[in-house]
C-alpha cells in the first residue's frame, strides 16, 4: 500500500518534471504544423542481412546518406530471417524516438500484423528494395527495383547471347524461393523467353542466396544434362560466379560453351564480364537511400499522393562491350 503510493508520487513527480522540461524547450510552432527536417528523423532500418555485394552497397548507401543528412539511423541486420525482422519491427514500434521504419523484406508475406501495429503507433513505414504482398495502405510507399522488368531484360540478354549457339537450353539458378527478387526475376524471364525459343531445362532455388548451394546445383545440372546446356540464368552475381566455377570444373568454358547471365552488376560481376565469362549483367540499383529518406520526410510532413511504388532507374551491361570499356565503367561504379 505504502509502496504503491510512494511509487505513484514518484511517477507524478517524474511526469510533471518531464512536462516542465517539454514546455521549457517547446517551440512556438504548434505540434500539428511542425515542419520536419532530416535532423528530426530517427530511422529504424531493418535490413535483410549481408548476403551479397549488392546488399553491402545498399546498407552503406543508408549509412552514408544518413551521415550527410544528419539523420539518426538505427540498424538491424536480420540475418535473412523473417522472425528477426518481426522482432526488430516490434522494437522500433516500442521505441518512442523512432519515427520512421524502413524495411527490406526477407519474404513476400508475413508482415501484415506488424505493419498494422506500426500504423497504429503512428510510425512512417517505407518499404525498400523488396516488394511485399501486404496492402499498400499499410505503408507509405515502396521504393525498389522492378524485378519483373529485370527478368524481361535477362531473357532478352540471354537471347542475344544465345544467337549462333547450337540450341537454347537454359538452366536457372534461382535466389531464395521466398524473395520477391527471385520470384519476379523467374516470372519476368518466362514472360519473354519464347522470343528466341528458350527451353528451361531445370530450375532450382538456392536458399538464402547461398553460392555454395548454387554451385552444387550447377554441378548436378552439368551431369544431368551433359552437353545439352547452352545458358545459365542466375538470379544474382554471386550465384552466376558459382556457376562459372562449376562450368570451369566440367572442362567447359563459360562465355564460349555456356553463356551466363547474372543480376545486380556489382564490381565482382564486372570483373567476370571483363574476363568474358559472365555474358551479361542486369543492373539492380542498391543506392536507394536518398529516395527512401526523401519519401519518409514527405510522409512525416503529411505529403500525400505518393505512388504505391516508385521504381528505380537501372541499366544493363554485357561482356560484348569489351574489356576496356567495362573497366572504364567500373571505375565510376560505387558498388
Amino acid at each position: 500500500m505504502t509502496k504503491s503510493r510512494s511509487l505513484r508520487i514518484v511517477m507524478a513527480v517524474a511526469v510533471s518534471a518531464a512536462l516542465a522540461a517539454c514546455s521549457s524547450s517547446a517551440t512556438p510552432v504548434p505540434a500539428t504544423a511542425k515542419v520536419y527536417t532530416y535532423k528530426d528523423m530517427v530511422v529504424g532500418f531493418i535490413q535483410t542481412g549481408s548476403e551479397s555485394g549488392w546488399r553491402a552497397a545498399n546498407t552503406s548507401s543508408f549509412n552514408e546518406e544518413a551521415k550527410t543528412d544528419g539523420i539518426t539511423l538505427k540498424f538491424t541486420d536480420s540475418q535473412n530471417k523473417i522472425e528477426n525482422q518481426i522482432t526488430a519491427f516490434n522494437t522500433y514500434i516500442a521505441d518512442p524516438a523512432v519515427n520512421v521504419i524502413v524495411l527490406a523484406a526477407v519474404d513476400v508475406t508475413g508482415y501484415d500484423n506488424v505493419l498494422k501495429a506500426a500504423k497504429a503507433a503512428g510510425k512512417v513505414v517505407v518499404i525498400e528494395d523488396r516488394r511485399i504482398d501486404s496492402p499498400s495502405t499499410l505503408y507509405y510507399t515502396y521504393i525498389g527495383s522492378d524485378f519483373d522488368l529485370e527478368g524481361n531484360k535477362g531473357a532478352a540478354a540471354m537471347c542475344t547471347l544465345l544467337t549462333g549457339m547450337s540450341g537454347a537450353n537454359v538452366v536457372e539458378i534461382g535466389g531464395d524461393q521466398g524473395a520477391s527478387a527471385a520470384i519476379d526475376r523467374a516470372k519476368g524471364f518466362r514472360e519473354k523467353d519464347s522470343a528466341c525459343g528458350i527451353n528451361i531445362l531445370d530450375s532450382q532455388y538456392a536458399a538464402a542466396w547461398d553460392p555454395t548451394v548454387g554451385k552444387s546445383i550447377m554441378d548436378a545440372d552439368l551431369k544431368k544434362y551433359a552437353g545439352k546446356i547452352q545458358g545459365v540464368y542466375a538470379h544474382n552475381d554471386e550465384l552466376a560466379i558459382a556457376a562459372i566455377q562449376s562450368i570451369d570444373a566440367a572442362g567447359l568454358k563459360a562465355g564460349t560453351d555456356i553463356k551466363v547471365v547474372g543480376f545486380d552488376a556489382t564490381a565482382d560481376g564486372f570483373k567476370y564480364m571483363i574476363t568474358g565469362e559472365l555474358g551479361a549483367d542486369i543492373e539492380c540499383n542498391p543506392l536507394l537511400a536518398p529516395q527512401v529518406y526523401k519519401a519518409a520526410l514527405d510522409a512525416l510532413n503529411g505529403v500525400t499522393g505518393q505512388p504505391a511504388w516508385v521504381p528505380s532507374q537501372e541499366g544493363q551491361f554485357a561482356a560484348s562491350q569489351g574489356a576496356q570499356a567495362l573497366q572504364d565503367i567500373l571505375k565510376t561504379r560505387k558498388y
Binding site: 549481408s50 546498407t59 541486420d77 540475418q79 536458399a207 555454395t212 548436378a220 572442362g251 571505375k331
Partner: protein, 362 residues
Amino acid sequence: MNGSFSRTWSKLTESMLFLPTAALLLILIADFFLIPGFFNIEIKQGHLYGSLIDILLHGSPTMILAMGMTLVIATGGVDLSVGAIIAISSSVAAIMINPTIVGMNLTDPRLFINNPQYTWAPLWLVFVVPLVIATLCGLWNGMLVSYWRIQPMVATLVLMIAGRGIAQLITNAIQIIIFNDTFAFIGNGYYLFPFSLYVAAVVFVGAWLLTRRTSIGLFVESVGINYRSSFYSGINERRVKLFAYAFCGFCAGIAGLIIASNIRTSDANQIGMYTELDAILAVVIGGTLLGAGGRFSLMGSAIGALVLQATLTSMLSFGVPASAITAVKALVVVVVILLYAEQTQTFLRGVGKVSLRQEATR
C-alpha cells in the same frame, strides 16, 4: 556353412563400420537404379569428373570437420562453433588476399583481374594465419570446457553466435571474391582426384596416427568414459580436452579455407552455415556415441560424412528442390538413429544368433 555365415554376420554387424558402410551402399544402390548416368566417370582436362567425384569433392570439408568433431565427441563433449570458425578462417584468408575490396577502393581493379596470382599478403601466410586463428578459437572453447567447467554445448554456443559476427566485422560484411588462382586450387584443383580429398586424407591419417599410434587416443576415450577416474589414474584430462577442442578448431580452419576456395568467395553470413550439424551428424552416423563419450571411429566418421554428401548430391541429381533437401536429410537422421537404437541392434545380432541356434539343434 551356416555357422560360418552367422559368425561372419555377427562379426560384421558388431563392427563399428557396418552401419555407415551399409548406409552409403544403400544410397549408391538407389542412385544406380534411379539416376541414369550417376556412376559415369569421365576424364576431363586430365582429371576425373562425375557425380561420384562430386561427392568426394564436396564431402571432403565435412570429412575434415568430422575428424575434429569425433575427438571432441569422444571426450564426451560437442562443438557447435565449427560453422562460425569456418566463417572466421575464410574471412581472414580472403581479406589477406584482397584487403582493397573491403575499403570499397575500386580505383584500380585491374590489379587482381589481370594478375591471377595477385595477393596482398604472401600466400603461405594466407594459409597459416587463418589456421592459427582457427586453432586459437578451438583453444578458447577448450579452455571454457576444461578449465571453467562450462557445459560443452553452452561453451561452444558462445563462439557459434559470436563467431559469425566477428567474421562480418573482419570483412566489413562484404563478400570478397577470391581471384587468386593458387588459393582457388585447394578447393577446385585436381591431381586426378580433387585436391581437397588429399587434404582430407592427410588430416585423417594425421588424426589416426595421433590417436592410434600414440596414447592420446586412449586418453581421449578414457576421459570420455569417466573424466574423474581418468584424473585419478594420472591423466591430465584438462589437457586432453584442450587438445581435442583445439584440433577441432584447426580442422574447421582447414575446412573454411577449402570451402572459400571452392566458391572463390568469403561470405561471412552464409559460409559454413549449419556445418556444425553436418559434422555432428557424420560422427553419429559413423557410430561414435553423442553425449556418452568413449569409443570412437575416425573411419566411421569419414564414411558418415560421405553418407551425408551422397544424400545431398543424389537428391540434387534426382531433381529434388534444394530447399526440400533438409527434409530428406532429416529422414536420413531418423533412420540412422533408429538403426543405432538398442532394439534394432538386438534384432541385427538376433539374425546371426538364430542361425547359430539352428546349427546347434542339428
